[in-house]
Amino acid sequence: MQFWALIVDSFRESRDRKIFWVMLGLSVLVAAAMFCFSFEQGKVNVLFGMWVIETDYFTGITGIKTDVIAALVVDGIMDTALGGMGVLLSIIATASFFPTFLDRGAIDVVLCKPMPRWKLFLGRYVGGMVFIGVQATIFVVLTFLVVGLRWGVWLPGYLLAIPLVVLLFSYLYCISALVAVVTRSTIAAVLLTMLAWMAFTGIQAVDDLFPVMFPGWQENKLMYEGVRTARWIVPKTQDITYLAKKWSRAANASVLMNADNDDEREMIEHASKIERERLAISPLAIIGSSLLFEAVIVLFAMWRFARTDY
């Protein structure tokens, strides 16, 4: 009863914020925009035939295939929703959840209830994830339906993006919650969470790209092993994105793309190789090690919350 009340309250609070409706509006807009496009042999129909664009962009290697286009679109959605704009909006949207909860005058009424503080914290924490869960569900289901109904391509694995989005968000939300418990500041929560996100992405980028860009990189044992270890400790935000692509069958779509010359073909094949290598990592290892990091941060935040005078 108490836990449910906290979650319902969190959802009511999120519904009251403009950013909730902005994110919802963006989801509808993306789905509507996708709905306006359809594909035929060598043609792209826009707005139900109002404009017809003739192109051979998708026909080079495979000939035009709607499922390839769908895979590419979903691939783009994954990058945007999980890797960029979506995460950014989620961080901003939820950064004030804990600071408002901990406001003087607001927290007193809650702390005097017959409920352990860890449970209060957890209720609020899950409440924040429910907010993102609702947004992710609306976005993924809408785009899933457009791809299926309009383009005739059903990608049931794409629906797994919903829990993966929530999971990816939770890796960052734990940082936001910890910063909020310590500082009670929304701005600090936003800034430090974004900084952490950039650091996580940066570590993964260095680990992926430096061996390719700098052939002698692996010989610098200290740096190389340091980055490898750091990668295993911090949440694997990039890998989650690849995992979502894999499960939605959108991964590796780039290899099917057109290549005008040998250089482009080589580039696409190289990108595809990197993706294959990433996807070879066990999902359990990717998710599990990241969850371990999250658990440590959440436990520390809970301890801090339980020990603080308000």
């Binding site: 009863m1 108490q2 449910w4 009340a5 906290l6 319902v8 309250d9 009511r12 609070e13 519904r15 009251d16 408002t100 406001d103 003087r104 005058g105 607001a106 927290i107 007193d108 009424v109 809650v110 702390l111 005097c112 209830k113 017959p114 409920m115 352990p116 020990r307 005078d309 308000y310």
Partner: protein, 332 residues
């Protein structure tokens, strides 16, 4: 054992409650307070005396450095008993996105009140506090007084045995204050215990059975209003004539001349008669004799004056008790 402790007559029995903040700031320095079941108890004191800290410790919002005692028969900090306690904090801030009914439902759910009871109590309390038309209106549309009444309603949603109210009449107009006073009296009649923290001494005087005066983190006075005032009565004797020649004789009776009035401290009627005899013996006309009972304000001022200033007491405290936090930590 539990049954025995539950049977205690004290709703609140605080023993040696201490709170030391960082940098050796002693907010509470060993507070002992007892509140009987079914009484309205008032806590008063100047700003910074530690009243709100004490209330927050009772409600587990702040952890004490050291604390013994019980609330509703269970050790201080016992979470289960919080289900039988209602609390209105000072300067509360309720979420503006909720309606009055949603707010009451939310806080009562956190207090483990069953759903059907929540619905019933919410309507009843809104009606009782004059907010029946506002139940479905968002709180950010409420005035300060309405917010305060809503705060009192949320404190009563779980039908508590003990109600702790921190400045409950803050922001209320005179009619609202009267309504709250009446509500407190009704609660007492129902057998509930009310712990009131207020700086409005006249409010406390009107409803409290017992009071405690907190000064510099210590209880300076505690007892019923009559207990606190019985030794602090003075008589004011007004007269016509010249009493200056009797100044020394009056001083011998612990009386002083102040204009056309002689002020006699204490409550000894024999001394009053002696002063009157003395005045009349000089042909002075007695116009009136009025016993003057000290108000709570007088007692508070007296208590403050009698207490060692905080910076001095801190030095003394520091010498005796370098860091109470090290002496004993309370785990909640």
């Amino acid at each position: 054992m539990v049954a025995l402790t539950e049977m205690t007559n004290w709703a609140v029995d605080l023993i040696d409650v201490r709170k030391t903040y960082a940098k050796n700031i002693y907010a509470l320095r060993g507070v002992n307070i007892q509140v009987g079941r079914g009484e309205i108890f008032g806590l008063l004191g100047p700003n910074g005396a530690g009243k709100t800290t004490l209330v927050k410790i009772m409600m587990t919002v702040v952890r004490p450095t050291r604390a013994l005692g019980t609330i509703l028969g269970r050790p201080l900090g016992h979470r289960g008993k919080l289900a039988r306690t209602g609390y209105l904090p000072e300067n509360h801030r309720f979420p503006g996105y909720l309606t009055g009914l949603q707010l009451l439902d939310y806080y009562a759910a956190l207090a483990k009140v069953p759903s059907a009871t929540r619905r019933r109590n919410a309507r009843r309390l809104l009606d009782q506090l004059g907010l029946s038309q506002w139940g479905d209106v968002r709180i950010d549309k409420y005035s300060k007084g309405m917010m305060q009444r809503l705060g009192i309603a949320q404190a009563l949603m779980n039908d508590p045995e003990l109600i702790v109210l921190d400045e409950p009449t803050d922001g209320l107009d005179p009619v609202g204050r009267r309504d709250v006073r009446q509500l407190l009296v009704d609660l007492r009649r129902e057998g509930k215990t009310v712990f009131l923290n207020s700086h409005l001494l006249s409010e406390l005087e009107m409803v409290c059975d017992r009071v405690a005066i907190l000064v510099n983190g210590l209880v300076a006075r505690q007892g019923t209003l009559s207990e606190l005032t019985e030794h602090t009565v003075e008589y004011r004797i007004t007269f016509s004539g010249d009493a200056q020649p009797l100044k020394n004789k009056l001083a011998g009776l612990h009386a002083a001349v102040d204009g056309d009035m002689v002020i006699l401290s204490g409550h000894d009627a024999a001394k009053v008669n002696a002063v009157i005899d003395l005045l009349r013996g000089q042909g002075i006309l007695i116009e009136s004799v009025q016993p003057h009972r000290f108000s709570l304000e007088d007692i508070l001022v007296e208590a403050m004056a009698a207490t060692v200033p905080q910076h001095q007491s801190r030095d003394r405290q520091g010498a005796d008790y370098p860091n109470p936090e090290r002496k004993r930590r309370v785990r909640w």
